[in-house]
């Protein structure tokens, strides 16, 4: 028995140029089985191009993309291995959601009843006989997801599935994907809306300008030193108390006449302020969260900007 568990998805040296623009540049990453991996990056970072290369829809100039060790185009029954929801627009407007899915049941040899099942799963049962052209963006996202589920695949690849969903829909999608991954299956989900991802993904692959910036566990990414925002009418007394109480001088940034950003945990500041009887009007723990880390990782550097 081999102890090596083959990754669900593997990209190696993927490169694709459109005109003068390197949309994806020597990109390598893996997605482990049974994880939910967030595929993150600002708009235009190359996420969609990469996902389409994984699915043999876009041809890479160099490198390879495999799912379960094979190129998508070489999978004998691709729909049972990987399901993909790439865009919420790929429907004939005059065809009902049910008929749209039945077409692909027929092509892939699934029973037609499978279309009804997945429509119920994504909550489109009541509208399945209506023309897809009349669906809201949220319904289209669900229909795209339903299409991805038809073959009951091991791997789901979703491109910005939360786009156009209302907050309730986003909560639903998150819960759905959690449940999907809990059964041991794999999800790769792209997004530029990071706060949604934070509550969903275990692993992240971060892309900037077509290149890999970071791959790893979400927990490693968002753990930074603590900081807090404090409002007090007695700024100097508070700072003096903190200097007396702490070993090292904390970094302090003045945000206003009575507001500070201090690189200390909120609990520590609160304790010191109470001991020194300093009046506080606000004490907020800073959130060094994914969004922050993401922003720092993907920030444009002046030297890299394209000449105007």
């Amino acid at each position: 028995m081999s102890v090596y568990i083959e990754p669900a998805i593997e990209a190696a040296g993927l490169t694709r140029t459109f005109g003068d623009v390197k949309a994806v540049d020597d990109l390598s990453f893996t997605v482990a089985r049974g994880t939910i991996t967030g595929f993150l990056g600002p708009n235009g970072a190359g996420k969609t191009t990469t996902l389409r290369m994984l699915l043999s829809l876009v041809t890479p100039d160099a490198g390879s993309a495999t799912i379960g060790g094979r190129r998508y185009v070489d999978l004998p029954e691709p729909g049972t291995v990987v399901g993909a929801a790439l865009e919420a627009t790929g429907f004939h407007p005059a065809r009902s959601g049910l008929n749209h899915l039945r077409v692909y049941c027929t092509i892939s040899g699934y029973p037609l009843a499978r279309a009804d099942e997945v429509l119920d799963e994504v909550g489109l049962g009541p509208v399945k006989r209506r023309r897809a052209g009349g669906y809201s963006l949220g319904m289209r996202q669900r229909l795209a997801l339903a299409a991805a589920l038809l073959g009951d695949p091991e791997v789901l690849i979703l491109d910005e599935p939360a786009n156009g969903l209302d907050p309730e829909g986003i909560v639903w999608m998150r819960r759905f994907l959690r449940g999907y991954a809990e059964s041991g299956r794999t999800v790769l989900v792209s997004s530029h809306v990071l706060t949604e991802m934070q509550q969903l993904v275990d692993q992240v692959v971060i892309l900037r300008r077509g290149r890999l910036v970071r791959q790893g566990a979400l927990a490693e990414l968002s753990g930074g030193p603590p900081w807090s925002v404090v409002k007090t009418p007695e700024v100097e007394r508070l700072l003096a108390a903190l200097r007396n109480g702490g070993a090292a001088e904390p970094r302090v940034e003045r945000l206003g006449p009575d507001a500070l950003r201090i690189d200390l945990a909120a609990a520590h500041i609160g304790r010191v302020a109470l001991g020194a009887r300093v009046e506080l009007h606000e004490l907020t723990p800073g959130r060094d969260d994914l969004e922050q880390a993401f922003f720092e990782l993907t920030a444009e550097h002046e030297s890299e900007r394209e000449p105007a």
Partner: protein, 254 residues
């Protein structure tokens, strides 16, 4: 492949376009047949009298003209619609070998062409038999070489299905394909075939090859033998489809 073809039929029958174009083809056929019969006794008519075998073959061959262009349009929309409505993504996810998708559409729209041809021949029969009976002309539907004409019409409408798929696979753009088809059929080729000096090669154009299939032409132009016309016409369709599958269908689906 049978699943793929069944899937293409499901795509076709889950929207209404096939029905509107079928009604259009039947209406056009009815119009052509009525004009031909109505003016058959006009002294200036170019067609053979309807009590002659040749006249009857000409009459039944109008089914081809009524149906073939619309079959090609339906087929072209069937393939270019995948790009227009972005269903190409789902289609190529289900069938990553794109050449197989083109092959399934060729088979599907050839069968659709057969059905259109049969329906339009039915229209001619329904109009001609009672109308000609009032003129004391009895049509034996299996006499006077008419079965050959039926075969020609059905082959013609089937091959126009191949042409539509082939051209659509090559161009991918729906408006360009449909407009191109119509302009070619109704403007470009009639102009080219109207130039007698070009006769030696205009007989190989699709419209002339189509006329050869039914051995009926309302112009004075020479045409090929029926089987030659069929091969030439199918050759265009398969050439376009192969070029489309090798080049434009391989392009990125974004």
């Amino acid at each position: 492949m049978t699943g793929l073809i069944a899937g293409e039929f499901r795509k076709l029958f889950t929207t209404r376009l096939w029905l509107w174009l079928l009604l259009g083809a039947m209406g056009l056929t009815a119009l052509y047949a009525s004009l031909l019969i109505g003016f058959s006794e006009d002294p200036d008519t170019m067609t053979a009298p309807l009590n002659s075998p040749e006249g009857q073959r000409t009459l039944f061959a109008v089914a081809s003209g009524g149906a073939n262009t619309l079959v090609a349009v339906l087929a072209a929309i069937g393939i270019t619609g995948e790009f227009r409505h972005k269903t190409a993504t789902a289609t190529f996810l289900a069938t990553p070998h794109r050449g197989r998708v083109v092959a399934a559409k060729l088979a599907t729209y050839a069968l659709v062409g057969v059905a259109y041809g049969v329906a339009c021949l039915g229209v001619v029969t329904a109009i001609a038999l009672p109308w000609l009976a009032t003129k004391d002309i009895e049509v034996g539907v299996l006499d006077n070489g008419l079965p050959g004409t039926y075969a020609g019409v059905i082959a013609d409408t089937a091959i126009f299905g191949l042409l539509g798929v082939g051209l659509g696979a090559l161009l991918r753009n729906q408006v360009a394909t449909v407009v191109g088809l119509l302009v070619y059929r109704f403007v470009a080729e009639p102009i080219l075939t109207g130039i007698p000096a070009l006769d030696s090669w205009t007989t190989y154009l699709p419209g002339a090859a189509s006329a050869a299939l039914t051995q009926v032409s309302l112009t004075t132009q020479e045409y090929l033998r029926a089987w030659e016309g069929g091969l030439v016409l199918a050759g265009y369709g398969l050439l376009f489809a192969t070029a489309g599958a090798l080049f434009s269908m391989r392009r990125d689906i974004t």
